[in-house]
């Protein structure tokens, strides 16, 4: 009995909830009521087959990307491959972009042919945005999932070249090679942000006794990371170690920013923050104090 895709309104009556297996999405559209209801129907229709499509090509999508490319057919799978392609010099599989790519796909289905003011699709923290001129959306960033609090607020306006936002870290549901509590990336799509956040979070790293790692295979049987050591615990570390780890990640983020792959990034580790790119003030204020 493999469960069906579930499409339902949230209890608040405003937002849409999409859930199937590991995919959990909250979406919201703004505009005339009739347009919103059509948009939600389109999103639900598109969502109904998305997991089955991904499962069909899962074996390919779990292979590290190389210069040879990956011959995938599904539209979400193609978004995943396109997003990881610029990063093919390092070890990365298209799965690094799966959440963001699903968010982008659902958003595209939701807004197609509709006249909405703005919309977002939040797939477990990887968010795809739609904004018309003059509109903006605000997002809060949570650095520590175990003690959720809003650690930063980002205002995303139509004029900014940002339509995707993603967060990665070792505390998240995906396995991480690095030790960042959270890395939040703004990019031109959620898929782009997703893979960048994963890779920057991997780069925030230090060899310290407080860091415990285990082979990915020990933690999850179907992982795409094989025997690579993934972080399972990060105890308190001295300030110097934290600074160095963040600097490594920030260097990586800065290189991506210069290559035009991301717009900005915020890196969080044990209360310290680094900001790369022109991020809005609140995160910087938080970083200072």
């Amino acid at each position: 009995m493999t469960g069906r895709a579930q499409v339902a309104p949230m209890p608040d009556g405003r937002r849409l909830h999409l859930h199937h297996g590991p995919i959990d999405i909250v979406a919201e559209a703004f505009g005339p009521a009739e347009e919103i209801s059509l948009a939600y129907r389109q999103a639900g229709d598109r969502f109904s087959t998305i997991l089955d499509e991904l499962v069909e090509e899962l074996a390919l999508l779990r292979q590290p990307i190389t210069g040879a490319g990956v011959p995938v057919r599904g539209s979400v799978a193609r978004r995943m491959v396109a997003a990881v392609w610029p990063h093919r010099e390092v070890f990365v599989t298209p799965m690094a972009a799966v959440a963001g790519a699903v968010a982008d796909e659902i958003l595209a289905a939701m807004v197609a042919g509709r006249s909405l003011e703005k919309a977002y699709v939040n797939d477990g923290g990887d968010i795809s945005l739609f904004l018309t001129p003059g509109q903006s959306l605000r997002a809060g960033v949570v650095a520590d999932q175990d003690a959720p609090a809003i650690d930063g607020r980002i205002e995303l306006a139509h004029a900014m070249p940002v339509r995707g936002l993603a967060t990665s870290g070792w505390r998240g549901r995906s396995l991480s090679l690095g030790i960042a509590d959270a890395v939040t990336v703004l990019a031109k799509s959620a898929a782009d942000a997703d893979v960048a956040a994963t890779l920057i979070a991997n780069a925030v790293d230090a060899d310290h006794l407080a860091v415990r790692r285990r082979p990915a295979r020990d933690l999850r049987d179907d992982t795409d990371l094989g025997d690579l050591p993934v972080t399972v615990e990060v105890g308190p570390m001295p300030r110097l170690t934290i600074d160095r780890a963040l600097a490594k990640g920030a260097d990586r983020a800065e290189a991506m920013r210069r290559a035009g792959l991301i717009f900005a990034a915020g890196l969080f580790l044990q209360g310290e923050v680094r900001v790369v790119g022109p991020l809005a003030a609140p995160m910087a204020i938080r970083a200072a104090g």
Partner: protein, 485 residues
């Protein structure tokens, strides 16, 4: 080999993860625990705030103001359980409410003996009593005794879950799970209708959405409102797909000594003033296909009717109504409706409630589940019966049946979102909490050593915090638990 044998194939979604002992699947929601597939949803805690603090949009930092801690109630959702329950329940939570030590035993029960009672607000014919109710061709339940204004289904139960084929069990389990989690489910009734069911939503019968419950059939409407029309109309015809009522022929009209009007409606006469099949079923007046009410008037007897006769035609929901006065040729001519008549038409509408599908989850918290609470399970049953122990499901109040055992019913719409899960047995997993005073817990042989302070549970477990549903009584009100009969 043992390693191989311990792998569980999770079939909760198409990813079909192979999960080794002690691991979780890709979703982090299902895990292999002792070779069994278990759900690992976060524990749901509901919180009732004593004081509300204004939340400043864009406030940069936490104010740290002195707010009284919100009161927390740990639900069984995500608590997970062991089956059979040979160990204490996953969480036995101790907290102090107004100086009294309270204990809540929190668990997720695995229910093979469970099912749904579904009430569908419609007078439409859904199918004969005892007819099979199916999803995807498999029988998942049956039509049971109708109630006033509503049709009733009994779905699930141990015979469909585990007594039939594997396929029947799985389809039944999925249908119950979806209905309990407030998802829509379409059922087909043998010899009857196709109905779309969703808890708290309007039923959809053969593709037509039921918006309102009619006040009664056409005949019942005549019975209810005859006196209020008396003196203001000479004839009233209440148009209804089931039974159309004609006031002057009806018992209620005779009782008021109303003279016959000579207006004869189409259809098959049942008893005086009551007619079946005045028109085809449809989306027009009173569930018929007509949009011009005069279509159902077969003839007007010139020997009986008189010019100036005042005729009201109205549907059973009051949504459609028209006023006519017979002209010199005894033809009904439309006229402005007098106020006293319009008032009664509005009253019909006012008496029609929104049509809903309601889903009551019914289950027996039997044998072993009680062992998670106490070493002496029958004492828990007695304590529940004596109202010393309050039973809730996801914090929602339940009705406990009199007699033996703990057989309960709960309205799924009063429980948090996605409260239910399943195990491949197949059986449903539902949250259940028992709340009682600590001294009463000790008296019934409770697992006192397993009690954790509420703060510890809140600090340790993976939590999903939800606001308390104000319509539900707070389970830890000592007074409520202590009501003794």
């Amino acid at each position: 080999m043992s390693e191989e044998g311990a792998v569980v194939r999770c079939d909760a979604c198409p990813v079909l993860c192979r999960i080794r002992e002690g691991r979780t699947g890709a979703c982090d929601r299902y895990a292999n625990h002792d070779g069994r597939l278990v759900r690992l949803d976060p524990l749901v805690v509901t919180e009732r705030a004593d004081a509300r603090v204004p939340f400043l949009e864009g406030a940069a930092e936490w104010s740290g103001a002195l707010v009284r801690e919100p009161q927390s109630f740990v639900t069984g959702i995500g608590a997970s359980t062991t089956y059979p329950d040979y160990k204490p329940a996953p969480f036995i939570v101790g907290s102090q409410i107004d100086g009294i030590d309270m204990v809540t035993v929190v668990s997720e029960g695995i229910f093979s003996y469970c099912g749904l009672k579904v009430k569908i607000d419609t007078d439409r014919y859904l199918g004969p009593e005892q007819a099979a109710v199916r999803t995807g061709g498999e029988q998942v339940g049956h039509v049971t005794t109708a109630e006033y204004g509503s049709q009733m289904l009994s779905l699930g139960g141990v015979r469909h879950l585990t007594g039939g084929s594997k396929q029947e069990g799985n389809v039944t389990c999925q249908a119950l799970l979806d209905l309990c989690n407030r998802k829509p489910v379409e059922v087909q009734i043998d010899g009857g209708s196709t109905v779309m069911l969703q808890a708290g939503a309007a039923p959809v019968v053969n593709g037509a959405r039921e918006e309102r419950m009619r006040v009664g059939c056409g005949s019942a409407a005549i019975g209810i409102f005859a006196k209020q029309w008396h003196g203001h109309a000479d004839e009233v015809i209440v148009v209804d797909d089931h039974i159309t009522g004609v006031l002057t022929e009806h018992q209620a009209g005779r009782f008021l000594d109303l003279p016959p009007s000579g207006i004869r409606v189409r259809g098959r006469k049942s008893t005086p003033g009551r007619y079946f099949q005045v028109a085809e079923p449809g989306l027009g007046w009173g569930g018929t296909h007509i949009t011009d009410p005069l279509e159902i008037v077969e003839k007007i007897n010139p020997k009986v009717a008189w010019p100036g006769l005042r005729l009201l035609m109205v549907s059973t929901t009051g949504e459609d109504a028209a006023w006519f006065v017979l002209d010199e040729n005894l033809r009904p001519a439309p006229a402005p409706m007098p106020d006293p008549i319009a008032k009664v038409v509005d009253r019909i509408a006012e008496n029609c409630e929104p049509a809903l599908t309601t889903v009551m989850f019914m289950a027996g918290a039997g044998g072993s589940l009680r062992a998670g609470v106490t070493e002496n399970p029958v004492r828990l049953t007695r304590s529940v019966k004596q109202a010393l122990t309050r039973v809730t499901c996801g914090g929602a109040p339940v009705y406990v049946w009199p007699g033996g055992g703990i057989t309960l019913m709960v309205d799924v719409t009063r429980m948090p979102e996605s409260s239910f899960g399943y195990v491949p047995t197949p059986a449903l997993v539902a949250p259940i909490e028992f709340t009682l005073r600590r001294e009463d817990y000790a008296a019934l042989g409770g697992h006192l050593g397993a009690i954790l302070p509420v703060q510890e549970v809140l600090a340790s477990a993976r939590l999903r915090r939800e606001p308390w549903r104000e319509a539900n009584p707070w389970p830890m009100e000592p007074g409520r638990v202590l009501e003794r009969s």
